[in-house]
């Protein structure tokens, strides 16, 4: 067939097959017996998806069609299962496991804690919510391309002048980026100047000119202008964030427990290679 000689065929086949399988098995839930139950929760879910695309809530006629479509698909999926179409297919097995994983996840929902409980938990995990330390600094740059072997001497001479009170703006070489940075965390400095420079300036004391510090660009004399220490988080302003983290943790724990209980129902035999 011509279509199979067409390179685009191969191009989209893999993608399409995966999409199709995904779609096919999305409907794979509930009992696979002879009763098709369309739960109110399922109707809600379908309507929400429908509304997201149509831009409005479904009306009576739309709802009828949504349900008919669902029932039709469910019946086809169950027939496919009876015929064993999904057996021993790695992708389908993986999809099923993912789906089950998702369901276990759903079951692992926890009730909201009281404020007192949440605050106690927050106090035990304060470090998670602290903002990173940020530093503001000014630097005077010395270019290796310009000074060559005289690089360290040039930086040293400028340092003497700075420590004697000279104006920093008049010293050093032009720098293509900024000469003053305000409130930047170490991660950003690493990406902008390289790790050596970032580590070094996070060890400096404030308000004095440093000895020459190397970066990806050359040498720098650095003065820390301000240190915003890792800020202690307060409970009230970020209560919602704390609640989210608490729920994530509860859910993860409940899920771990549920999955290991499931595994506990099986005897696991791992065969050794010869």
């Amino acid at each position: 067939m011509k279509i199979f000689r067409d390179p685009i065929t191969h191009f989209v086949l893999i993608g399409l097959a995966l999409v199709a399988i995904n779609h096919f098995w999305t409907a794979w839930q509930g009992e696979l017996g002879r009763t098709i139950v369309v739960s109110t929760a399922e109707i809600d879910r379908l309507e929400t998806i429908w509304a997201g695309t149509a831009g409005r809530r479904p009306t009576g006629e739309d709802r009828k069609q949504i349900i008919e479509q669902y029932v039709q698909e469910e019946a086809l999926v169950r027939e496919a299962e009876r015929l064993g179409l999904g057996n021993d297919d790695t992708i389908i097995r993986r999809r099923l496991a993912q789906k089950m994983d998702f369901l276990v996840n759903e079951d692992a929902k926890a009730d909201d804690p009281t404020d007192a409980e949440l605050e106690r938990w927050f106090n035990e995990h304060r470090e998670r919510f602290a903002a990173a330390e940020m530093r503001s600094f000014t630097h005077v740059y010395f270019s290796p391309e310009k000074h060559g072997s005289g690089l360290e001497a040039a930086a040293g001479a400028a340092l003497t002048q700075l420590r004697a009170g000279a104006e920093w703006k008049a010293l050093g070489d032009p720098f293509i980026q900024k000469r003053s940075y305000a409130a930047v965390p170490e991660r950003e400095i690493t990406r902008l100047f390289g790790p050596e420079f970032a580590t070094a300036i996070f060890k400096l004391e404030a308000n004095e000119w440093s000895s020459p510090i190397g970066s990806a660009f050359g040498l720098h004399l650095v003065r820390i202008e301000a240190i915003d220490s890792a800020a202690q988080a307060q409970f009230a302003p970020i209560r919602a964030e704390i609640m989210g983290a608490w729920k994530d943790e509860q859910r993860a724990e409940a899920k771990r427990a549920a999955v290991s209980e499931l595994i506990g129902n099986y005897e696991v035999v791992i065969e050794k290679k010869e």
């Binding site: 685009i8 065929t9 399409l16 999409v19 429908w50 032009p174 390289g194």
Partner: protein, 634 residues
């Protein structure tokens, strides 16, 4: 749960990720020199911002089929430093600092239609086409997808399939998402979309084979209710007329062509869409609407081709010249590459009095998985489940084999995916990080393109410039005052001087050399010449304007690079040694890094196999400035 996680990560990034490029806060008492303000205040000497103006999400018909389910919101979260999921389940995160600006640019034709087809209860899901598209029969799936792809390309409104209400609704979500994430002073998000025209030049049998005329349409601020797509017209000239109307109506806008490298000679051809001679009105309308071109992205480089630039030793770089989804090679002789187009523009200026190709350069990613893949060390390519693994993209042998001996690489990987690139960025010099400042900088072409590295590059030209300016602390403000920056015109009748200043990316390789590429025409024939202008490691250009080899090496066994070669910055004053006062010319800068491993070599190294012998093992990351034009008065 996933969404929640992304949201939490993004909030974290907002709290701690105050970008140094754009950051700064009013509360900190930092002594700032004039013109050195970091924060929200305008910097008259301008800051460089890095962005990506070419991103697809699940709303694009093809991305949806690649199993992408991530949204415009996810794209912006990624740009701000957050983590998003690849369709194959792994995490995507930027290696470099957060981006400063972005635009989501989904294919406007049939926007959101695939999701609607895959949603129970919708009208579209009842179509035979939808049932086939999401069936399990590969033959039917492909047939259905070809119908949609063909309709996008040909601009056909298929009866009962094309639904403008869906387009309008999804477009509104895209515009709203940009609005939500746009934070003046910190992060710029533009409303935008892709206009996906293809000139079918090889018959319909070739799938999408034809001249790629794709453009990204970017709005400066407000946007209309509906995008202008191929279903409205497949002729880009009609798009420009619509854009002119939009500008009149208060929606300022530009379109940015991309992948001219696979346009089959169509993107910069020397006649109109309908085969008429170019006119002054055509040229003016085109350049008014298309001041910049995307010249590097995942699907290769559009600067020049080795067959067009035989004397440019660096022209054979990440060349990708197969027409979209096709093994057919694009006609490279004319119309595909910007260097030649710029020369043709100079010629047209003399013939018709205007230059339709008077454009600047940017790069972008064209990712279809919402996150751009910029980093050689960690490449995920662009089309989701189809090229998301090293095996699928041909960088390691298939079926877990440990050698390339006797291996036949899948033709899709051999023809397409293995040739694609971890690229690129749009770099913009603007007074501040806002929609207005960045858009206006793009309009004046004060932009450059990079292959995914964050080289900083200044380029100025002026008649009064001299060598002494290089050490002047006020160099930048004086250069702006007495000359033009990249993208500008130098009007005069004597040899201009140029100041070029490049600084490496701290997380990439040191710089190897800085070059000036001169383009002109002689008796109607396009001419070009590459001049090395500054060399690393103390070298100076020889009589043929070439730097000595600096000896920088890559160790393919572990991808380590020479630590003692290359320059952190290169800064030079340059004059054209062959300048002719009466000759119109264009000059742009190319900065080359020392070589590093190509992404395919990193893939192979991680898998413990040799790199694919059909591919280059190393690349030289680079930046290209927008040109400065010398316009003789005489």
């Amino acid at each position: 749960m996933t969404h929640k996680f992304v949201a939490v990560a993004a909030i974290g990034a907002l709290i701690t990720g105050c970008s140094a490029e754009s950051g700064g806060s009013a509360e900190t008492d930092v002594a700032l020199a004039p013109g050195e303000t970091a924060g929200e205040e305008a910097n008259p000497d301008r800051n460089v911002y890095f962005g990506d103006l070419h991103i697809h999400t699940k709303n694009s018909f093809d991305a949806y089929i690649f199993n992408v389910r991530t949204t415009p919101d996810d794209a912006y979260e990624f740009g701000m430093g957050g983590t998003v999921k690849h369709p194959l389940g792994y995490d995507l995160k930027l290696e470099g600092p957060p981006l400063d600006f972005m635009a989501v640019t989904d294919h406007a034709a049939y926007l959101g239609h695939l999701e609607a087809m895959n949603t129970e209860g919708t009208e579209l899901s009842k179509l035979d086409m939808a049932k086939q598209m999401f069936s399990t029969d590969p033959e039917k799936i492909v047939a259905a997808f070809q119908l949609i792809g063909g309709a996008v390309r040909d601009g056909k409104k298929m009866d009962g399939v094309y639904d403008p209400a869906i387009v309008g609704n999804v477009w509104k979500q895209i515009v709203d998402s940009a609005e939500k994430y746009n934070k003046p002073g910190k992060f710029t998000a533009f409303a935008g979309y892709e206009y996906t025209a293809v000139r079918v030049s090889r018959g319909k049998e070739g799938g999408f084979a034809g001249g790629n005329l794709h453009r990204n349409v970017i709005f400066r601020g407000s946007a209309p209710d509906m995008p202008f797509a191929t279903v409205d017209s497949t002729n880009p000239e009609d798009l420009w007329s619509w854009m002119d109307d939009q500008r009149e109506a208060g929606n300022d806008v530009m379109s940015i062509p991309h992948n001219s490298n696979v346009s089959d000679g169509e993107m910069f051809k020397m006649e109109t869409y309908n085969g008429q001679p170019l006119t002054k009105a055509y040229a003016e309308q085109r350049i008014r609407n298309e001041p910049i071109v995307e010249i590097t992205q995942v699907k290769g480089t559009s600067e020049t081709h080795p067959s067009l630039s035989p004397n440019d030793e660096w022209a054979d770089f990440e060349i990708y010249d197969k027409l979209l989804s096709s093994p057919v090679v694009s006609k490279t002789a004319t119309g595909d590459y910007v260097r030649q187009a710029i020369a043709n523009g100079l010629k047209l200026t003399q013939e018709i009095g205007a230059d339709p190709f008077h454009f600047g350069f940017i790069g972008s990613s064209d990712s279809h998985v919402v996150g751009g893949s910029f980093d050689e060390k960690n490449f995920w390519s662009k089309i989701g489940v189809v090229d998301g693994s090293p095996e699928a993209r041909g960088s390691i042998p298939p079926d877990g084999k440990k050698s390339w001996e006797g291996v036949t690489v899948n033709p899709n990987a051999a023809n397409w995916f293995s040739r694609w690139s971890a690229s690129g960025y749009a770099a913009v010099w603007a007074e501040q990080n806002s929609r207005e400042a960045i858009f206006d900088a793009m309009r004046r072409k004060e932009t450059y393109a990079t292959t995914g590295t964050r080289i900083k590059l200044r380029f100025f030209g002026g008649f009064g410039f001299d060598e002494k300016m290089l050490d002047d602390p006020e160099m930048v403000s004086k250069a702006y005052k007495n000359g033009v920056s990249m993208g500008g015109d130098l009007v005069g009748n004597k040899a201009p001087g140029f100041i070029i200043w490049a600084m490496r990316d701290a997380m990439s390789a040191p710089l190897q050399r800085v070059q000036v590429i001169k383009v002109w025409t002689d008796g109607g024939v396009a001419k070009e010449k590459v001049f090395d202008a500054a060399c690393s490691d103390g070298g100076t250009p020889d009589a043929n304007f070439r730097c000595p080899d600096n000896g920088a090496k890559v160790d393919i066994s572990d991808c380590s690079i020479s630590t003692d070669k290359g320059a952190p910055e290169l800064k030079t004053f340059w004059r054209d040694p062959e300048h002719k006062a009466e000759q119109r010319a264009s000059y742009y800068v190319r900065v080359l890094e020392n070589p590093v491993c190509r992404w395919s070599t990193h893939d192979a190294l991680r898998a413990g196999v040799a790199p694919n012998p059909a591919l280059e093992t190393t690349i030289q990351e680079r930046a290209w400035s927008s040109p400065i034009w010398y316009v003789p008065t005489a």
